[in-house]
Symmetry: C2
Subunit: 357 residues, 2 copies
DNA sequence: GCTCGTTGGTAATACGTTATACATACTACA
DNA sequence: TGTAGTATGTATAACGTATTACCAACGAGC
């Protein structure tokens, strides 16, 4: 309610002087005047209106962050890490839950652009970037998080991601090493580039051993379902039930992320399967929950804190310097964390036993 | 980059005319002019600058949301529900992770106020509202979520919460009914009103049966620790380890929320305890994970979706109508969800067994 | 022919802040 | 005394939009 003018009037100085005080330009200012202005500010409980401020300056110290949904613990965690990294550099962040919906993403992007945001971080999103091209052309800097930038030339200014295919290969290799031959992949709708990469990584690793990823070993959720991430665990549960009740069920599951994996464990248990004795499960992400659940989940870790730091640093760099980040496209190595949800398949163990004595 | 002026120039009309088109006031406007303006808008790829718009109109259709941390799945979920409820009514929401820190809360509140936000929803926060009084006086409408409004007269305009003490009593009664006598309470730093209410609810229910909540049955985390919610599971794990290794350990745990409960289960297992055979655990919130973990967690459900709807509706109502919401302070009933993490204590079962035959 | 209302549009101003350029008063020095 | 130099402030034009008041043209009714 109180504006800079009110402060000026109360202190008996000009608006400009108050502005100078606010912005720390009181180097060459009378001590008495400075004092009076400060008193007036506290007395009127004055807060500068940043809307007006940014209208003037043309840009905000604000980053957009578009994620599938903060209800998914992975993205909730990432959001917080990104916010912290941004805050450290004097930037705020606007979080948007786009539910992997291109339409929604575009809407949010428009709204961000209208709020003078000129840099936004895009969490795992649809393969195509076409719906965002116009924003990029208008001057929005887009940073891709957790996805390749394939098909995004010119619209994405920087990116940070784990090598998705490698992560999938590590998981698959681990399962193959344990003796599994029939391994299923479970995921929701596979419309995003990171999910495709994980599926293909798994397929290619299997093929190295002459194994083939059959169609009945790929579970991609109900057709055309627009579920956000809130239902991931639920879907994982359904996936396990359907896969395990079919003829010739898998002995191991590779889930596209930890929430699906956790749900799958639950679904398997309901059918009387024990994890890992009767079924091995590998996840992706290494969310906090994975360490703490029963059994602790074998999973592929994404170094979320490091990724958050990098993406924020790079985006701000491209925003502030004209010449862009020195290394705009970072790909990190994921790490396989072996815990207790994986073991040799039953048949294999029995064979080994017989062979042993 | 393209402003309303550019559109006007391109269409050969005045700025005001374009403004009229944008805001749907083209009722009595020449079809040809309208057409030209619309063409110019799409051609220039024009997006209205909402910063300028709100500077003019003085207020934004934006709500603040201050939560401990979206990295906690409960708050992540709540945030998404609140965002959805707000969007439905044409409002955006700004999410802030304040880590239960009064200082940070005040900082965020200032920043929100400076962004012309005049209504914010405050997730479980410190007991005292003193640090927010000044904002309330400046005209910020504050809605309390998941907490009582005690000590908040005049600063909070509406609130939605579950009856925290009742929830704790339901949980405690359930454990007492199973035969537990030595029940521990685990929580992080107990600086928030909802946590105090849960602790006191438990204490009072125990006393109904002549049971006393000893000091060594209350675990409140490391002294003066400023942890946000990211570490809740970790803390729960530590809690269980410390409580179970002391003399005369508890037979049941009531955790202040599900994340602590899940962590506690993990910690107990590491010590060789089986849940629920050797130790019963009850949580609070009923996050998605609770249903899906092993064993499924007995917990006190907060109807998060309903709460989100109510708080948003009430806050917007007080914002738009001068006379405030008709029922500004809603207290809902929590519900005990009995799953598989609770059972009769061992001693009790043995006694029963001996008595049986 | 005159006023009046209607239709389709324009011009000007305000919103709260910042930045630029300029004004004053005082000091130092020739 | 005049000139330059140096502190210390101030006036004012943007920023992009929304609103208010206003204007022109054109019939219609008197």
């Amino acid at each position: 309610m109180a504006g800079i003018k009110d402060v000026a009037k109360k202190a008996g100085v000009s608006v400009s002087t108050v502005s100078n005080v606010i912005n720390g330009r009181h180097a060459k200012m009378g001590a008495r005047t400075l004092r009076r202005v400060q008193d007036a500010i506290t007395e009127l409980n004055y807060t500068p209106n940043s809307v007006a401020r940014q209208l003037k300056s043309g840009h905000t110290k604000t980053l957009g962050l578009v994620v599938p949904s903060v209800a998914n613990p992975f993205w909730g965690n990432v959001s917080q890490l990104i916010e912290k990294a941004a805050l450290k550099r004097g930037y705020q962040v606007l979080i948007c839950n786009a539910e992997r919906d291109p339409q929604l993403e575009a809407t949010y992007m428009n709204s961000l652009y209208g709020s003078s945001v000129r840099g936004t971080i895009l969490g795992s999103s649809p393969v195509s970037f076409d719906h965002l091209r116009e924003h990029s052309e208008k001057g929005m800097h887009i940073a891709a998080f957790d996805r390749t930038t394939q098909g995004a030339q010119g619209v994405v200014s920087c990116s940070v991601s784990v090598d998705q295919a490698l992560g999938a290969r590590l998981a698959t290799r681990h399962l193959i090493g344990l003796g599994h031959k029939r391994i299923a992949f479970i995921s929701g709708p596979i419309g995003t580039s990171s999910r495709i990469a994980r599926l293909e990584g798994m397929r290619s690793e299997l093929e190295k051993d002459g194994l083939i990823l059959e169609d009945d070993m790929i579970w991609l959720g109900p057709n055309a379902c627009g579920f956000g991430d809130s239902h991931a665990a639920e879907l994982g549960r359904t996936a396990a039930r359907e896969l395990l009740t079919q003829d010739n069920p898998p002995t191991a599951l590779f889930a596209v992320n930890d929430m699906y994996a956790i749900g799958a464990c639950s679904g398997a248990r309901e059918l009387g399967y024990r994890v890992p004795d009767d079924l091995s499960v590998v996840g992706f992400d290494d969310i906090i929950m994975s360490k703490v659940m029963e059994p602790p989940l074998t999973t592929v870790r994404q170094p979320a804190d490091q990724m958050a730091e990098l993406i924020v640093a790079n985006l701000i760099h491209t925003l502030e310097d004209e010449d862009g980040a020195e290394d705009p496209h970072v790909i990190l190595r994921p790490e396989l964390i072996v815990r207790n949800s994986t073991a040799a398949p039953k048949s294999h163990r029995e064979r080994s036993h017989r062979a042993m004595p």
